[in-house]
């Protein structure tokens, strides 16, 4: 893997730090007129998700990380692993619980997700921003109540629980924003 000097730092660059793959979120150069320059860099550890700031002496270099984002179709899970397929090469990848993490609750078969590969193995999974899922469990609907603004919990087919308006019934399909976990709207049947 190539190494990168601080002058090549830019947001989105993937580098290895303390043995973990990280992405550069922000890079700011500070330099007194005639003094030593530093790069103040905001980083995110791609394994743990932790974000922190590290200062580099300008001119230092770090090793690049073999990390790439790839669109993949979610296939199924067998209890231990979640399986994804590259729709172009049909190559399959298995992701463990640590990689799938919170994304598991949104994974619906055949949905296209972004799988981040590190050294060729799934490191993390990002579900589509919006998914359409069936309500499998919720309190009976309050007929006609589309205006009171009240809400109730509803469990979805993939295991996620979201807050939905009172009028919704079990068996209905709704659209959810996976980034916030918010209910977006009802998907008309048929």
């Amino acid at each position: 893997m190539a190494s990168y000097s601080t002058s090549e730092f830019r947001s989105g660059l993937k580098v290895m730090l303390d043995g973990d793959p990280c992405t550069i979120v922000e890079n700011e150069i500070v330099k007194p007129g005639k003094g030593q320059a530093f790069n103040r860099v905001k980083l995110r550890n791609l394994k743990t998700g932790r974000t922190w700031e590290r200062t580099f002496k300008s001119g230092e270099s770090v090793e690049g990380a073999d990390v790439m984002d790839q669109d993949m179709e979610y296939l199924y899970n067998d209890g231990d692993f979640w399986y994804f397929m590259d729709p172009v090469t049909y190559e399959q990848h298995q992701a463990d619980k640590a990689a799938v993490a919170d994304a598991a609750q949104w994974l619906k078969e055949q949905n296209l997700c972004v799988v981040t590969l590190y050294n060729g193995s799934p490191l993390s999974v990002t579900p589509p921003n919006f998914v359409e899922l069936e309500i499998v469990e919720t309190d009976p609907g309050v007929r006609g109540d589309t205006a009171s603004g009240g809400s109730k919990p509803a469990r979805l087919a993939t295991g996620a629980t979201v807050k939905v308006p009172l009028f919704l019934e079990q068996g209905e399909v709704i659209k959810v924003d996976t980034r916030s976990g918010d209910y977006v709207g009802r998907v008309k049947a048929g």
Binding site: S7, I29, V30, P32, G33, R54, T55, K57, E60
Partner: protein, 313 residues
């Protein structure tokens, strides 16, 4: 069609720049300070370890990092008080506050004390930006407030240990002065609000300013920097006049450049000759003109106050 051809500064900002330039020239005309022009393309360049000059491929000429050497030769020749508005060039300096090519206002005042020069800088800034309240604090004072260490006494190891306790730092080969710079840029500068002159720097950062011994034994560099809301605007010196000392410092820079594996820079022999002839006792200051325009317009990025910054070439 791409929009890459467009300037970074809007027309109102271009007009503001023109007005600030006029106001600056008027300010110095009122004070009988002579405007001069010196070459951008030079046969020698600054020896400072932290300045990287652009050079011609054959190494015969450099773009100036500041007009300091040429202006000092004019002072030694009896010019009296002089100022210059010019382009300066520093390779590798690119950030929201840096562009490799930028506009510098530099002026020299024979017979002025450092205090008198700080007051004149304040008057100019008041004229250009309408700021009327300035505070004056020693480097030791601000450093102790924001870092909790004595910048004149703390060792490199102490500064490093303290830094590694508070910050995540990846750096090798930093000396005492570099650790001081780290603290200044990470803790002190962001904490300085309003208009603050910081004066009496650690002696290692004297560059071309006079070093004075203080009661208690510490040595301070007689220089100041002006910060406006944490942004460095101006850098002023009680100028070193002693030719022997100047030669020694240039040699120290050259040794340090070699130690760090930086390109060698030969000291400017004509500047040395001018000093041997005699530089009048004087104070001088360089002011980043583009940054003044940033403050005048409220722009956060230097790209917005330049017609075409590096990223638009």
């Amino acid at each position: 069609m791409s929009t890459d051809w467009k300037p970074g500064a809007d027309v109102a900002t271009l007009r503001r720049r023109a007005r600030l330039l006029q106001q600056t020239r008027l300010f110095f005309a009122e004070r009988d300070v002579l405007e001069v022009e010196t070459p951008c393309l030079l046969r020698s360049t600054a020896t400072d370890v932290h300045l990287e000059s652009f050079s011609l491929p054959d190494g015969s000429h450099f773009l100036q990092t500041s007009p300091e050497f040429a202006m000092k030769r004019l002072l030694a020749a009896g010019s009296g008080a002089i100022f210059q508005l010019c382009k300066c060039f520093r390779s590798g300096e690119l950030s929201r506050r840096h562009n490799p090519e930028f506009t510098m206002l530099e002026w020299y005042r024979p017979g002025f004390s450092l205090d008198a020069l700080m007051r004149e800088v304040a008057e100019l800034v008041q004229r250009l930006l309408g700021i009327s309240s300035f505070s004056y604090r020693s480097y030791a004072d601000v450093f102790e407030e924001y870092v909790g260490l004595d910048p004149h006494q703390a060792s490199a190891e102490e500064l490093e240990r303290h830094a590694r306790g508070e910050l995540d730092v990846q750096a090798s080969g930093l000396n005492r002065s570099d650790w001081l710079d780290l603290w200044m840029s990470h803790r002190v500068e962001p904490g300085l609000s309003g208009a603050v002159f910081v004066y009496d720097f650690p002696w290692e950062q004297a560059s071309l300013s006079r070093i004075e011994r203080r009661p208690g034994g510490s040595r301070v560099a007689r220089r100041f920097e002006l910060f406006l809301d944490g942004m460095e605007i101006a850098n002023g010196y009680d100028e070193l006049c002693d030719a022997g000392e100047l030669e020694q410092r240039a040699q120290n820079d050259c040794d340090e450049r070699q130690r760090r594996g930086l390109p060698p820079v030969a000291p400017d022999s004509k500047l040395l000759d001018a000093h041997r002839h005699g530089l009048p006792a004087c104070c001088g200051v360089a002011l980043g003109f583009d940054r003044v325009l940033m403050l005048a317009t409220g722009c956060e990025d230097i790209d917005q106050v330049l017609a075409f910054s590096r990223n638009r070439l």
